[in-house]
């Protein structure tokens, strides 16, 4: 087995407060804002960071 190159752990750890942000996505007709803190007290949120569009995973 090849060992994957070790990379540092992200600076955020389990138990830390997730930094708030506002980002946009395109609905097909409009750009819509999504603010992380809008989900506070309402829903869990999965943030799935990925490398680039049109890549696997």
């Amino acid at each position: 087995m090849l060992r994957a190159e070790t990379k540092p752990a992200p600076s955020l750890k389990v138990g830390d407060v997730a930094p708030d942000f506002t980002l946009q996505y395109f609905t097909g007709s409009d750009l819509k804002n999504v603010k992380l803190s809008d989900y506070r007290g309402k829903k869990n949120v999965v943030l799935a960071f990925y490398i680039f569009a049109f890549t696997g995973g």
Binding site: A4, K7, P10, K32, A48, F52, G57
Partner: protein
Amino acid sequence: MKNFQKNLQKLEAADTQVLGVSMDSPFANKAFADQIGVTFPLLSDWGGDVTHQYGVYVDKYKAARRVNFLVGKDGKILEEQLDSEAIDPTKIVDACQRKPLKD
């Protein structure tokens, strides 16, 4: 992203919103979402501010690492999955289902 799509019903049933994040433009992300059949938002971190803020920027790729964060209703991080581990979201799906939402 496709693996989250497969688990989307379970996640939604557990009161969980899935958001993809990359440094692509919103338009590239929309085209990508359509191509792979993803119905949750793929957010555009154009410029990478949020990617840096979350500590997941990789110089070598000039882009984000593959990382999943599960953020609870209190705004705190409940689970983290890194790199190849992040391809299969089972751990996150299980965590959402384990935490029947007390509030």
